[in-house]
Structures are given as structure tokens and as C-alpha cells.
């Protein structure tokens, strides 16, 4: 039964191997190059237009025609909005994730369904959150305001935060829970003192990731947060946001204002970079802690 399987096709196989290896490595390079190109272009175009007055002043009269002023309104508005939304999302997210990991059995139907609905919510486009937020706002008798924006963005952040939290809290070993129960702790005490403490860096990372997503999202606040040149002083006033400020400035026909859009984009990118670096640092510290 000996076959004459000479290695004559070996050369062809080697060529195929190397061809695809190059193609694959090339694909990775493309992905990385895209990131570099995006961040690079934004910084390169935005940095020259960035000035102190841009981040310390609100828009003065005729700002969108190229006159004096800055985007402090949008910076402050975005920070308020994203912070408020993140806070609200934590208030829902943390109890839910703790519940499905501590109270419900890890494989119970309720836990499975909750995870599934988080997955589904994660897939809902932000423009749909925007539309829903708008309906909710009208239903509650609100006008476009900081509060309406916060509620909408909180909904958007909820699945992002919960999934990230669930991922770390799931890793808490069940033995640890049992050890806590055997010392007479209630489930609530176990959840707060053992589980939360054990996975705190991971929870903070989840919160940061959600914050980053919240501060960058435009489609959801378009309908709900409004836009104003003034700094918001109450929850019921409209608030400007950074992504929308970028969008509106870019939409003007004046090159000076467009340059400000680039500068604002650079600023937003810097904030996102900072937040993800922070999140990354926490993860690093956390894993180091584990080993």
C-alpha cells in the first residue's frame, strides 16, 4: 500500500502557507494602521487649532461664524452628562450584576436571560436609544435637557457597563462566597464586602469604559440633551456636548470654525485616550494582584 507521495507538492504548499501568512500579518497591520491614521490625523489637524481660549471660554456672539469664544460649554456639558449617566447606570448595573452572580445561581434561567438581554441591549444602535429617549422625554413632560440626556445615555451605558462588570464578578471563586457564608455573613454583606472588594478594579474599569462610551456618543443626545452656548446650571436646562459641538462646527462653511471642529475632536480623542489608559492601568494592576 506504499504510495509514492513525493514531496513534489511541498513547494506549492509552502508557498500557500507563506502567502496566507503575509496576508494575515498584512491584515493586522491594516487594522493597526487605521488606528494610527485616525488618531494621528485628528491630533495633527486638531492640535494647531487648539488654544487656551477654546477650552476656557464659552462661545461668544458669532462664534459659529469664526469669531471669539471656545467650547467650554460643550466640555462642561459632556462631563456633566457622562458623569450623571455613568452614576445612574452604576446604580442599576451593580445591583443587577451582583444579583445574578450572588443571589441567583450562576446558571439559573434568570441569570441567563438577564445576560441575554444585556447582549441584546448592547446591540441596540445609539440612534434608537436617542429616539426612545425622546419618546420617554415627551412622555415624562420634559424638554430637551441635561436630565433627559442623562437618562438616555445611562440606558446606552447600562449594557456596556453590566457586561464588563459581569465578566469580572463572574471570576470571583465560589469558594470565597462559601467561606464568607460560613462565617455567618448574609448574602448582602458577602456581595458588598467580599465580591465588590475582590473585583473592585474590574468594576472601576467597567465604569470607565462606560463613561468613555457615554462621553463620545452623539446620536443618543441629539434628540434629548439639546444644545446651548451657556453652561448648564440645572438638570432641566439643555446642555451642549462635545460630540455635537464637533458635528455642528464641522457643518459650518467656514474653515476657521472647521479647524475648531478638528481641535474639539483632538480634545475628545485625548479624553478617550486618557480614560482607556486609566482603565488599562487598573486592569494591569488587577491582574498583577492576582498572580
Amino acid at each position: 500500500m506504499r504510495q509514492s507521495l513525493a514531496p513534489r507538492n511541498l513547494r506549492r504548499r509552502k508557498i500557500e502557507e507563506n502567502f496566507f501568512r503575509v496576508l494575515m500579518a498584512g491584515s493586522v497591520l491594516i487594522v493597526i494602521a487605521c488606528l494610527g491614521l485616525i488618531v494621528g490625523t485628528i491630533i495633527w489637524k486638531g492640535l494647531p487649532a487648539l488654544s487656551l481660549s477654546m477650552i476656557t471660554q464659552t462661545p461668544k456672539g458669532g462664534y459659529y461664524l469664526g469669531r471669539e469664544g471656545g467650547i467650554l460649554n460643550a466640555i462642561v456639558g459632556s462631563l456633566y452628562l457622562a458623569s450623571g449617566a455613568t452614576l445612574l447606570a452604576v446604580l442599576f448595573s451593580l445591583p443587577i450584576v451582583l444579583f445574578i452572580n450572588v443571589y441567583a445561581r450562576k446558571t439559573s434561567r434568570l441569570a441567563t436571560w438577564t445576560r441575554f438581554s444585556f447582549d441584546v441591549l448592547w446591540g441596540v444602535p445609539s440612534i434608537v436609544y436617542g429616539a426612545f429617549g425622546f419618546i420617554l422625554m415627551v412622555f415624562m413632560g420634559l424638554r430637551a435637557s441635561l436630565l433627559a440626556g442623562i437618562i438616555t445615555v445611562a440606558l446606552l451605558e447600562l449594557p456596556i457597563m453590566s457586561r464588563a462588570m459581569d465578566e469580572v464578578i463572574r471570576l470571583v471563586p465560589p469558594e470565597l462566597l462559601e467561606a464568607s457564608y460560613s462565617l455567618g455573613a448574609t448574602k448582602l454583606e458577602t456581595a458588598l464586602k467580599v465580591v465588590v472588594r475582590q473585583s473592585l478594579p474590574g468594576i472601576l474599569t467597567a465604569i470607565l469604559i462606560a463613561f468613555g462610551r457615554g462621553i463620545g456618543d452623539a446620536a443618543s443626545v441629539l434628540f434629548t440633551a439639546g444644545f446651548t452656548d451657556r453652561l448648564p446650571t440645572s438638570l432641566f436646562q439643555p446642555a451642549a456636548t462635545l460630540p455635537l459641538a464637533i458635528f455642528f462646527q464641522l457643518g459650518t462653511p467656514f474653515p476657521e470654525v472647521q479647524a475648531r471642529a478638528y481641535a474639539s475632536a483632538a480634545l475628545l480623542t485625548a479624553i478617550i485616550l486618557l480614560v482607556s489608559l486609566l482603565a488599562r492601568g487598573l486592569i494591569k494592576k488587577y491582574t498583577k494582584h492576582l498572580t
Binding site: M24, V31, L35, V39, P95, F116, A131, I135, A218
Partner: protein
């Protein structure tokens, strides 16, 4: 007292846990209720397949926008699927651990960039590029086009497809690869005949998730796609995807009768499509996971 607190907390948490499921239903119901007035005037079928868009005269034909969405998404998938899959195979099968650890945070970052940033970048780089290359394909283009939208969108869905397919591929046992390698197969042959075949369902799910992400993406596409309410004839034409339509007209929608209803219906249609794809992909992934475990 402690026990009372515990029992109370347990009840509160249980109620909260129903919240995410409730939100999904509330969104669907809310959009449906707001979309009902227009459905009372016109059947859904004629709304979806009519090309006439003139809100002032009461004409709300979604067809050009649906086609715009499909075109942009198709371009994005054609570009993103091969690149993402090849990249994830490289990362899981070939790359040394150091390279993997170097690249993962970068993909995280790509996923975390806001869509307006993608939009600004598209305007700065992709739009002029498309305008420049259009003549070589025998057309002219302002650059604000389906192609520009598709390219920007492709980059935005890289992370989704890469992450999910990485997860799927890495759940395939190493011993299975060893079985193929020990027969004298090269690495690529092992990938082609064994890894991809074993992971096929999960990879399809990854692509579907990327697809549903692309269908709903709004701002970035809106900024580069041209927003022309006509059925596009080529990738160099401008288009007007559904999400862009909703986002662009929020200002005037309260002043024209039925306009807001039409937009909310559009959002509802978009949501249903995206949800169907999403649920499908998730079900596949759950099944894959169960089989692996």
C-alpha cells in the same frame, strides 16, 4: 435586622434584574406607539417600498434610505470581513504572545473611539481619497459617497468581528490542531480545513454581529455619506442610510404632520432588523459555547 436588610436588598435587586428585559420591550412598544399614526394612514408595505420622499406633501417612502443602508453595510462587510478574519486568525494562531498583548489594547481603543471622531477623520481623509480615485473608475464623485461611508464603517466594525471570532477560534481545543499538524499539515492547512470548519458557526455569528453594528451606526456614516435621498446606482454616488435620516431631521420633525411618526417608525424598523440579527448571532454563540463546554 441584618437578615431583614438582606431580604429587602434581595427583593430590590430581583426587581432591578427584570429591568434590562423590560427596557428591550419598552423600546419596542414605545417606538411602535409613536409610529402608529403613520401606519394608520399608510400600509407598512408601501412605506417600505415607495421611493417618494416629500414630508411636506405627506409622502414618506423609506425605500431610498433602506437601500442606502444596505449599500453602505454591504461595502463595509466586503472590506471588513476578510481583513478582520485574517487578522483574528493571525492573532490566535500565529502571533507570539507579546504581539498579541501589544495589539489587543489597540483594538480596544479602536472600539472605544467615538463615532464623531471616525466621522471627522472620514471627512479629512477618506472623502478626498474617494473623490480622487473616482475618475479612475470612470465616474466623478464629491467624495461624500457610499464608498466613503462603507470604508469608515468597515473600520468601525473591525473590533466587533475580530473580538468575537477570536473568542470562537480560541475555544477550539489545541489538541484538534495537533491532530491535524501531526499528520503533516502546515499551519495554514490546519486553519483552513480544521479551525475554520470547526468554528464556522461562531464566525458567522461574528460577522452577523458586525453586520448589525454596521446597520445601526449613525454619526460617522452621516458625516461622509452625502445624505442624498435617492437610491444609489454606484458606490461613488451619495446615499442616505436610515439612521442618518432619523438623526438629520430631529429638528424639523415636530413641525410637519406625521413626520415624527415616520421617523419613529423608521427607528422601529431599524431596531427590529438589528435585533433579529443580534438575537440570531447570540443564539448561535450560546450554542457554540455549550458544545465547546
Amino acid at each position: 435586622m441584618r437578615l431583614l436588610k438582606d431580604a429587602l436588598a434581595s427583593k430590590v435587586m430581583l426587581v432591578l434584574t427584570f429591568f434590562p428585559g423590560l427596557v428591550v420591550f419598552l423600546i419596542i412598544i414605545g417606538l411602535y406607539l409613536r409610529g402608529r399614526p403613520i401606519l394608520a394612514e399608510k400600509p407598512l408595505f408601501s412605506l417600505l417600498f415607495s421611493s417618494s420622499w416629500a414630508p411636506g406633501r405627506g409622502d414618506f417612502g423609506f425605500f431610498p434610505f433602506i437601500m442606502g443602508t444596505l449599500w453602505v453595510t454591504a461595502v463595509a462587510l466586503i472590506v471588513a470581513v476578510p481583513i478582520s478574519l485574517l487578522a483574528s486568525i493571525y492573532l490566535s494562531e500565529y502571533a507570539p504572545r507579546a504581539v498579541q498583548e501589544f495589539i489587543r489594547p489597540m483594538i480596544d481603543l479602536l472600539a472605544g473611539l467615538p463615532s464623531v471622531i471616525y466621522g471627522v477623520w472620514g471627512v479629512l481623509l477618506i472623502v478626498p481619497l474617494v473623490a480622487r480615485i473616482a475618475p479612475f473608475f470612470g465616474g466623478t464623485s464629491s467624495g461624500y459617497s457610499i464608498l466613503a461611508g462603507g470604508l469608515v464603517l468597515a473600520i468601525m466594525i473591525f473590533p466587533t468581528i475580530i473580538y468575537v471570532s477570536l473568542e470562537v477560534i480560541s475555544s477550539i481545543p489545541y489538541e484538534l490542531r495537533e491532530a491535524s499538524l501531526s499528520l503533516g499539515a502546515t499551519k495554514w492547512e490546519t486553519v483552513k480545513h480544521v479551525v475554520l470548519k470547526k468554528g464556522l458557526q461562531g464566525i458567522i455569528a461574528a460577522i452577523v454581529l458586525g453586520l448589525s453594528r454596521a446597520l445601526g451606526e449613525t454619526m460617522a456614516v452621516l458625516m461622509v455619506v452625502g445624505n442624498i435621498p435617492k437610491v444609489p446606482q454606484s458606490v461613488f454616488d451619495g446615499g442616505y442610510p436610515l439612521p442618518a435620516l432619523i438623526a438629520n431631521n430631529y429638528g424639523e420633525m415636530m413641525s410637519v404632520p406625521l413626520y415624527d411618526s415616520a421617523l419613529m417608525l423608521a427607528a422601529g424598523v431599524l431596531l427590529v432588523i438589528v435585533l433579529v440579527f443580534n438575537v440570531l448571532a447570540r443564539i448561535i454563540l450560546v450554542r457554540v459555547e455549550r458544545r465547546a463546554g
